[in-house]
Every structure is written in structure tokens, then in C-alpha cells.
């Protein structure tokens, strides 16, 4: 590990100020320290935000939740409000990592964790995300875990989070403290950037900006499902995952919110697919049509070709489960 200066932020403003000066924010550290050990990341300065008062989950006036960025993945998954009102979030969190890691990993850190692409982690290999312009070893290499949607000829890495996929389904917003502009709020979907020609720039956060909270709108009607398909039953990243919130009324789909993990550079959502499903009667044919649309621009890279049929089958299974019986 390269050496660095370490300091503790006295308040969120100080953290944002230090970040503006080039410091890297550390919270749980479960991903950052791993990357620092491998020298994939080598910050000169760490600003530790763990002592900040951002560890609380507050109920909002409209019946939603405001989740502090330092709330651990364990505490968020175990919160009875989340388990009852936003169970897809609890399920997604519990499907990720291990008990030890979830105790340390934080809400903001989970959103900002880096890809687990093998070539990003291997400093002997080219990677445009780690070293812009060096090339992408995953293209034409081992790419079993890589993305089929939203990729570019520069990068085919996935975003590894489960939590973010559920939050995307739930229309979460991210509250950001900016060193220069005060507080701003964006949709979670607008936090992430597609790789394009700049895969090293993963989010729309500017230097000196820090996530302070995630806001969940009030609970959704209907059934919530998180389905994760992976190589092991526990402690493995998703090959394909789906977070679904589906409401059926009088035999027809009233609302269908769907986000997909393991397939794109960010938690993937396609409103056209949801529009296609809305108002329709559940059927295998409908799931086929929805998946055709979802996968219209999907590209396999060789070892990950299987993700295309896998996503098709997983979506059908999730929609069957979500629309079974009266939707309760």
C-alpha cells in the first residue's frame, strides 16, 4: 500500500472541502482499502467520515425514508421500516457480501463501490477505467461476469451493487453536499455515467461533492422481489439480478418497476419495458415481448453470452412470481 495522510472530518462541510482539495473519502473502507492494498487506488490523502452524524434512518413527512450515508448495510437491511415497506431493499442488501462486510459497508460507499472486473484489479493488465487509454483486457479476454448492456468499446465492466439495484427500482434519490453549491438532490439513476470514452469517470459527482443521504419515496403497492442468480448460493456477485416492484389490479399489471444488476455499468432500468407491461394481462408471451425490448441492444462478449438467455429466463420467473394469484 502506498502511504497517505490520514485525517478525520469534523463535519460534512470539512469532508467536502478536503475532497475538493483532492482527498479521498473513506467510510466503511471494505472496497477502498482492498483496492489500496493492490495499489489499484493510491490516494495521497484519506478523509475519514466515520465520526460524522450521518448514521440515522429518518422517516420523512410524506411517508418515505431518509437514510444517512453512514448507515451500515446491516442496519439498513434489519430496519423494520425497510423490511415492511421496502422489502426489496432489505432482500437485496442481504443477498450481498457477508455478515462481516455488511456491518462495515455503508450506504454511500455501497453506491460508490468500484467494479469487480478482474482486469481492473490486476495492475499488470490494461484497463481504461484504472489507467485511461491503456485499453480493455476484458474485451476478448475472460468476461464471464461482464456487462451486456450500456457498454462501450472502452469498457464492459459491471456495477457490482445489489443495494443500488433495489434503490433504483424504488426511485431513490441521492442527497449530495457540494463544497461550492450547497445541497443538491438527484435521481439515483442520474448518479451513474455510462462508460463511453471515459470509463474512469463513473459518476456525476464533482470534486468536492459527497453523498450525505439516500431518500426513498413512500412504499409502493404490490409485491416486491429481489432475485439474484450467481455461481454460489452465498457471498458471490450477481451474474444477473432483478429488483421488481409489481402491482396487479383486477388481473392486469397496474405498475411494474424493474431494475437489473450484473448486466450493465450501472443499475439498469428501462422505462419502455415498464410501459410495455403496464395495463397488460400477465402471460409468458408478454414477458417475451418485454425481454425482447430490454435486450434489443444487448451484446455478448463471448464468455458472458449466456447472460442474455439467463436474463430472459430470470425476468420470466420474476414476473410469474410477482403476478401470481392476486398480487398479494
Amino acid at each position: 500500500m502506498r502511504t497517505f495522510e490520514y485525517s478525520r472530518a469534523a463535519d460534512p462541510g470539512e469532508a467536502a472541502r478536503f475532497a475538493h482539495e483532492g482527498a479521498t473519502i473513506i467510510a466503511g473502507g471494505t472496497n477502498l482499502l482492498d483496492l489500496m492494498k493492490l495499489e489499484v487506488m493510491a490516494p495521497d490523502r484519506l478523509i475519514d467520515i466515520n465520526r460524522l452524524d450521518l448514521k440515522w434512518i429518518e422517516s420523512t413527512q410524506d411517508g418515505g425514508l431518509r437514510i444517512g450515508t453512514l448507515v451500515s448495510n446491516s442496519d439498513l437491511a434489519a430496519d423494520m421500516r425497510v423490511r415492511e415497506g421496502w422489502p426489496v431493499l432489505s432482500k437485496a442488501l442481504l443477498s450481498g457480501a457477508t455478515g462481516q462486510l455488511r456491518n462495515k459497508a455503508t450506504t454511500g460507499g455501497n453506491l460508490l463501490q468500484r467494479t469487480r472486473c478482474y482486469y481492473f484489479y490486476d495492475t499488470d493488465m490494461p484497463c481504461n477505467k484504472r489507467e485511461p487509454g491503456s485499453g480493455c483486457a476484458a474485451l476478448g479476454g475472460f468476461n464471464r461476469i461482464h456487462a451486456i448492456l450500456g457498454t462501450s468499446d472502452q469498457c464492459i465492466a459491471t456495477h457490482p451493487s445489489d443495494m443500488a439495484v433495489a434503490m433504483r427500482t424504488l426511485d431513490a434519490k441521492v442527497e449530495i453536499l457540494s463544497n461550492e453549491e450547497g445541497v443538491r438532490m438527484i435521481d439515483l439513476g442520474d448518479l451513474y455515467r455510462l462508460p463511453g470514452d471515459t470509463p474512469h469517470i463513473e459518476t456525476t459527482l464533482k470534486p468536492g461533492e459527497m453523498i450525505t443521504h439516500v431518500i426513498l419515496p413512500p412504499p409502493l403497492e404490490g409485491r416486491q422481489i429481489y432475485r439474484k442468480v450467481r455461481d454460489r448460493a452465498s457471498y458471490a456477485f450477481a451474474l444477473v439480478s432483478i429488483a421488481a416492484a409489481v402491482d396487479v389490479q383486477d388481473g392486469k399489471i397496474a405498475t411494474a418497476k424493474l431494475a437489473f444488476g450484473g448486466v450493465g455499468p450501472c443499475p439498469w432500468r428501462m422505462p419502455q419495458v415498464e410501459n410495455l407491461l403496464t395495463g397488460q394481462t400477465p402471460s409468458a408471451h408478454l414477458w417475451e415481448k418485454a425481454t425482447d425490448l430490454l435486450l434489443e441492444d444487448a451484446t455478448g462478449q463471448g464468455s458472458n453470452d449466456f447472460k442474455i438467455p439467463l436474463l430472459r429466463r430470470t425476468l420470466a420467473a420474476v414476473m410469474d412470481e410477482a403476478t401470481r394469484g392476486d398480487g398479494k
Binding site: 473502507g29 442481504l94 443477498s95 455478515g99 457471498y235
Partner: protein, 168 residues
């Protein structure tokens, strides 16, 4: 830099490089070698300790981040003369072969039983609004952060089930 850690009830003052992980602080600076280094990347669980009562991977956190925190290591869980219920159960059920993962397994299980007592659900809990019974499937899922290369898993699950029953 200076960090004060309260480990197994005793305060220790450390003078160290900021890069020192909590794991290396325990083993190399304080000679508390019960906590093991396996992968050093948070994947095996051999370095599991309790931080303010919660289980964490001590390899994936810096000592300097824990000034004033309370750490419990395997040395604070039990002694040869006074074993914890989990330690007794591991011996009775032969929950190990080489023993390298055992301190991590026991620290992890100690905190896991407390999580279960608090009603935390897991990935295998069908209805996350309920507080599930600690079935073998629940135990296995909740312990998935602790690998055992000797694959003593069936006996580890037996040991934890026994300890869970005793402390319930």
C-alpha cells in the same frame, strides 16, 4: 500516528504508520496472534473480530479509524480454563481440523447469535418481516463469510446450533 484501542477490556496506546490494518495492529503490534491472517482481502473471515460488539473483517479496516473503539478478539471470548459456550460446542462437535479458521469462526458465530437474537433476517429468510428460527440453512447463510479449507462445515453448523440452543 497515535491510536488508542480498548481490546478485550484493556486500553492499548499504539504508535503506528497510518497504513496498519486493525489485523496487523493486533498481531504485530500487540502480539494478540489469536486473530488469524488468511486472505487479507475480506474474503475468508479468519481475521473476524468484534468491533463494539459487531463482527467485522479486521484486515479491511485501518487501526487509526478505531481510536477509542472497543475490540473483542478470540483472546477475550474465552480462555482454556473458561471456554465460551461456542468454544465448548466446537470441541464437542469437532468443528475444525487444522484450526486456522477457528478463531474467526468463533468470533463470527458469537456476533451472529446476537444478530439472530435481535431478530435480523438473512438472505434465506422467506419473509424478511419475521425473526426466523436458526435452522441449519440460516446458520450456513449467516456464516458464509467464514471459510474453512478443511471443510468442517457440517460440524461447525452442529456446534453453532448447540450453542444457539443453550443461550436461547
Amino acid at each position: 500516528m497515535q491510536t488508542q484501542l480498548k481490546i478485550n477490556g484493556t486500553e492499548h496506546d499504539l504508535d503506528h504508520d497510518p497504513r496498519v490494518s486493525l489485523l496487523d495492529a493486533l498481531r504485530n503490534h500487540l502480539n494478540l496472534t489469536g486473530t488469524k491472517k488468511g486472505c487479507d482481502h475480506g474474503q475468508c473471515g479468519a481475521c473476524t473480530v468484534l468491533l463494539n460488539g459487531r463482527r467485522i473483517n479486521s484486515c479491511l479496516t485501518l487501526a487509526c479509524m478505531h481510536d477509542g473503539d472497543e475490540i473483542t478478539t478470540i483472546e477475550g471470548i474465552g480462555t482454556p480454563e473458561e471456554l465460551s459456550p461456542l468454544q465448548t460446542a466446537f470441541i464437542e462437535h469437532d468443528g475444525f481440523q487444522c484450526g486456522y479458521c477457528t478463531p474467526g469462526q468463533i468470533c463470527s458465530a458469537t456476533a451472529m447469535l446476537e444478530e439472530a437474537r435481535q431478530g435480523w433476517p438473512s438472505h434465506v429468510t422467506v419473509d424478511v418481516t419475521t425473526s426466523p428460527e436458526l435452522t441449519d440453512t440460516e446458520i450456513a447463510e449467516r456464516m458464509s463469510g467464514n471459510l474453512c479449507r478443511c471443510s468442517a462445515y457440517p460440524n461447525i453448523v452442529d456446534a453453532i446450533r448447540q450453542a444457539a440452543g443453550k443461550s436461547a
